[in-house]
């Protein structure tokens, strides 16, 4: 995931305070001793968009590659987890209509 806004779970309109709060929450949830890689990602995301000039610079100069997973993440941002239907469960277990 390369989008720093999604990394921190904030909207693109978020201000400095919101971003900082999200960053602190993220590193509390994922300290470096628990998951170094995730911590680095969160820190890099925060450093990219911490202030308004940085956000503008990110919007202007970011050339990070978009992956299939990024695309899926953008797409799935609006999805709502759902319960399975009985039919789908039976179909999976071998039942046929």
């Amino acid at each position: 995931m390369t989008d720093p806004y999604r990394q921190l779970g904030v909207p693109e309109t978020a201000d400095d305070e919101t971003i900082r709060a999200a960053y602190l929450a993220a590193i509390r949830a994922c300290p470096p001793e628990r998951d170094r890689q995730r911590f680095e990602q969160v820190r890099a995301a925060y450093e990219a968009i911490a202030s308004q000039p940085q956000r503008l610079a990110h919007a202007l100069f970011d050339t990070s590659l978009v992956t299939a997973e990024d695309l899926l993440e953008v797409l799935s941002a609006g999805w709502q987890a759902a319960r399975p239907t009985e039919a789908a469960l039976y179909r999976l277990l071998g039942g046929h209509d």
Partner: protein, 846 residues
């Protein structure tokens, strides 16, 4: 199943006795998961002898192959192979995943047919068989189960299992809990308990769901549901790849659970198909275009805009399918695309057009964000140019861009600071002060700006002002060590002024003040030494100098004493005698290194410094031979000495280093630079070749700085070359006599470097000009000099040496091209062809 070509049979020893080789081979093949080959090999073995272990091997090979086929969705083929396995190996059909495949193939009745056989199995095998058949009973229509005994375990808990499935689907937690409670831990449906719990928790509490799932045994009768849940619980970046391992029903259920709308499923499956090899930006762009309608919520345009710099060839497709691209967006995309192709020359005009659009268009000029964006672009351009400068200094363009950026966004303190610092380092103190005043108006109590003000004041010799400003910095930043040193140095400098003005009492006060700020031993020694010059009596001076020399050591003490000694009017010999300096004493490593550091702080071509170093020559020569300096210390000392044109001493230290690190490129360079740097044309051929070799070595070792310096020295030694392919930019073309004359006229007519460079930029074309500018490191003085030298050299060649080779009777054949050094990156138009003879008497005799 189509009949496939059989593998070559395994060789068998005559007489029926099978060698150990083929049996081992079959085992190895089986272990390597080459099931098709393993089946053939075990079959061959069994033709000779029906050994139980080979039958087991054949059954295992059939199992592996059938699972391979099922994983590819070839369920019918898997079932057929399973039946063959049962016949050939005499193993029960109701084993492994056979029932699951039957169900997947829609053969519920056939699966249920095994129930009758289960009752004939031994009691211990019955439970396992019923567990395998549980999914078939669960999904079977009631009519098919009419003949089953009512007390059969698969029937007893069937109703509870179906109720649990229904409760899970309806989100009825209480009903689910009750239904699962009714399924005992011995029930054939027992795996459904953790599975349905995980299913009900997968969205609300993934961790709990994962721990419930972990309790489900692998390859159980409800494996398809376990696999679906596993994929659902994968992290965001991984579940798409996990989807590939599921069949159609599994994928559908995952997407149901994720809440994927039906319109987007084709896109998700398309993405899934591309997860193996990372799709290129162009492929992703095309995919987004294909599924444009499915991507609702305005996500497709920003996504494609992000992809465009990587896929600029899709600009037309973007324009045709998506809301129009604004002019600023297009310039940004093209600039980034050029940068991604490492072509800053092509990016620059796009960035500049973007700046114009962001800052000047009536629609955008009103928005501060637009102006801020324009300022950011200008700063990026300045950064790009200063990256090519060896010391990070700003070229004229970069200065202009930064100044322009401040007009658009005056709140950027870092840019203010950068411009002030650059002006100070270039000696433009008036400009530095004016920039500083503007910055301090905006940021009156900013510690870094005040610190820079201290530096500017010091550079201008306004020591009192510098000390005052430094104290202001300390009020804001009390532990700033740099400022403490600056204050101390300001007092030292002021004390020197007072000593020169014979105002000894004032000088002593300044020195006392300096002593409170300067803490290192060397600094304290220097204070003591200056106190000697400000002392009331000769005896007091001698005593203070003795103390200073004791603190600084003989080398550093003598150096400072002689440097400061000009203001005493005493001869060096007398001064050294009074201070008790023993020039025969061996200097230490620390003193030698400190001396080199001190030399680096002094300006070049200092006549007084040359005299001081001449007095210390013997001591330094001994130091070169005796001291055990580290490699970096050797480099520091050599470079400091070379900077002050101490060629002989530089060579001494370089040769000492080469004895310890033979052929180390940096020392070979320093040795050669000391010997031939001032007169590179005197470099003999063998030396040129040695440098050529170490140039390659430096490049191989990644020592780009030394490689660049060697390349420059080699280029200077080789002198002008008449080849076309010598590294000159093609855009320059052949310098004709008329063109040179014009250019010379232009230099004379132009009123300075800037004007000359502007003319050169227009004449050469932007691409060639920018390349030259980068090659000389972005420094405009060096660029103007390099351009003028190029023109002069070309003129010399054309007027005096037509043809050049014919004028050199002793010319040796040109070395093979492979011997020519590769030009280092960012190096000016370096001649890569060695000269025929590097000493050209006829050229320089005049």
């Amino acid at each position: 199943m189509s009949r496939k070509k059989k593998t070559k049979p395994t060789p068998v020893v005559a007489g029926g006795a099978v060698s150990a080789g083929p049996a081992d081979l079959a085992e190895v093949t089986l272990a390597a998961a080459r099931y098709k080959d393993a089946i053939e090999q075990f079959k061959e073995l069994l033709k000779r002898e029906r050994r139980p272990e080979w039958l087991e091997g054949l059954a295992a090979a059939y199992t592996g192959r059938a699972e391979q086929l099922a994983a590819k969705g070839m369920i019918k083929e898997a079932l057929a192979l399973w039946r063959t396995r049962s016949d050939a190996c005499n193993v029960p059909l109701l084993d492994g995943r056979y029932v699951g495949w039957l169900l997947k193939n829609g053969q519920v009745e056939q699966a249920l047919g095994f129930l009758a056989a289960v009752e004939k199995l031994p009691p211990e095998a019955q439970a396992a068989a019923q567990t395998q058949l549980a999914p078939a009973v669960l999904v079977a229509p009631d009519a098919l189960l009419a003949g089953l005994a009512a007390d059969s375990p698969v029937l007893q808990h069937r109703a509870a299992a179906r109720a649990a499935l229904a409760a899970c689907a309806h989100g009825d937690e209480a009903a689910l809990a009750a239904a699962l409670q009714a399924i005992s831990f011995r029930s054939p449906y027992r795996d459904l308990r953790p599975l349905l719990r995980a299913l009900s928790l997968h969205a609300s509490d993934p961790q709990q769901a994962a721990s419930a799932l972990a309790r489900v045994p692998e390859k159980g009768p409800f494996e398809p549901l376990a696999q679906v849940l596993q994929v659902c619980l994968m992290p965001a970046g991984e579940w798409l790849a996990g989807l590939r391992g599921l069949d159609e029903a599994g994928r559908t259920l995952v997407l149901d659970l994720k809440g994927c709308p039906p319109a987007q499923r084709a896109l998700v499956l398309d993405l899934m198909a591309r997860t193996g090899d990372a799709p290129t930006p162009v492929e992703l762009f095309d995919l987004a275009m294909r599924h444009c309608r499915a991507m609702t919520g305005g996500i497709v345009r920003p996504l494609c805009l992000r992809l465009l710099p990587h896929a600029p060839q899709r600009l037309d497709a973007f324009r045709a399918n998506l809301p129009p691209l604004a002019a600023a967006e297009q310039e940004r995309v093209l600039a980034l695309a050029a940068e991604l192709k490492q072509d800053p020359d092509r990016a620059e005009p796009h960035w500049l057009r973007l700046v114009k659009l962001l800052s000047a268009t009536p629609a955008t000029s009103a928005t501060p964000a637009g102006q801020q964006r324009a300022a950011l672009v200008l700063r990026r351009l300045a950064d790009e140019h200063s990256h090519h400068s060896p010391d990070g200094s700003l070229c004229a363009h970069a200065q202009d861009w930064l100044a322009q950026s401040l007009k658009l966004d005056p709140a950027d303190r870092a840019t203010h600071l950068r411009l002030v610092r650059d002006a100070r380092l270039h000696g433009s103190l008036k400009q530095a002060r004016s920039l500083l005043d503007a910055a301090r108006e905006r940021f009156p109590d900013d510690a870094p700006l005040l610190q820079e003000a201290v530096e500017v004041a010091l550079a201008a010799g306004a020591f009192k002002k510098a000390a005052g400003l430094a104290k202001q910095v300390l009020q804001l930043d009390p532990i700033n060590p740099r400022v403490r040193t600056l204050i101390g140095r300001a007092h030292l400098s002021h004390a020197r002024k007072q000593i020169d003005a014979h105002n000894r009492a004032a000088a002593r006060r300044e020195l006392d003040e300096a002593a409170t700020w300067l803490r290192s031993a060397d600094e304290r020694g220097l204070v003591r030494l200056l106190q000697g010059f400000a002392a009331e009596s000769a005896a007091a001076a001698d005593s203070l100098w003795h103390e200073a020399v004791a603190e600084l050591g003989p080398l550093l003490g003598a150096f400072h004493l002689l440097m400061e000694g000009g203001r005493s009017g005493l001869e060096a010999r007398v001064l050294l005698g009074r201070a008790g300096v023993d020039l025969a004493a061996p200097p230490s490593v620390e003193q030698t290194v400190a001396l080199a550091q001190g030399l680096n702080l002094l300006p070049e071509r200092d006549r007084a410094l040359h005299a001081v170093l001449a007095a210390l020559r013997g001591m330094l020569e001994r130091a070169a031979g005796a001291l055990h300096l580290s490699e970096s210390e050797h480099v520091l000392v050599c470079e400091a000495l070379l900077r002050h044109e101490q060629q002989a001493l530089t060579r001494r230290f370089a040769k000492a280093a080469l004895e310890r690190w033979p052929q180390r490129p940096v020392f070979v360079y320093l040795d050669a630079a000391a010997q031939y740097g001032a007169q590179p044309w005197r470099m003999p051929r063998h030396e040129w070749q040695r440098l050529d070799r170490v140039f390659e070595q430096a490049q191989d070792e990644g020592d780009q700085r030394t490689a660049r310096r060697l390349s420059k020295l080699l280029g200077a030694a080789a002198g002008p070359d008449d080849d076309d392919d010598d590294g000159f930019p093609a855009d320059l073309g052949e310098p004709g006599a008329a063109g040179i004359g014009d250019a010379m006229d232009m230099i004379e007519a132009s009123g300075g470097e800037d004007a000359f460079l502007d003319v050169a930029r227009r004449r050469l074309g932007k691409a060639a000009f920018d390349r030259l500018r980068r090659d000389v490191g972005g420094n405009k003085k060096q660029l103007a000099q390099a351009l003028a030298e190029l023109l002069l050299v070309a003129e010399q060649e054309l007027k005096q040496l037509p043809p050049p080779r014919a004028a050199w009777p002793n010319a040796a054949p040109k070395p093979a091209p492979k011997a020519a050094p590769k030009p280092a990156p960012k190096t000016p138009a370096v001649r890569t062809v060695p000269p025929a003879t590097l000493v050209q008497p006829d050229l320089f005799d005049d």
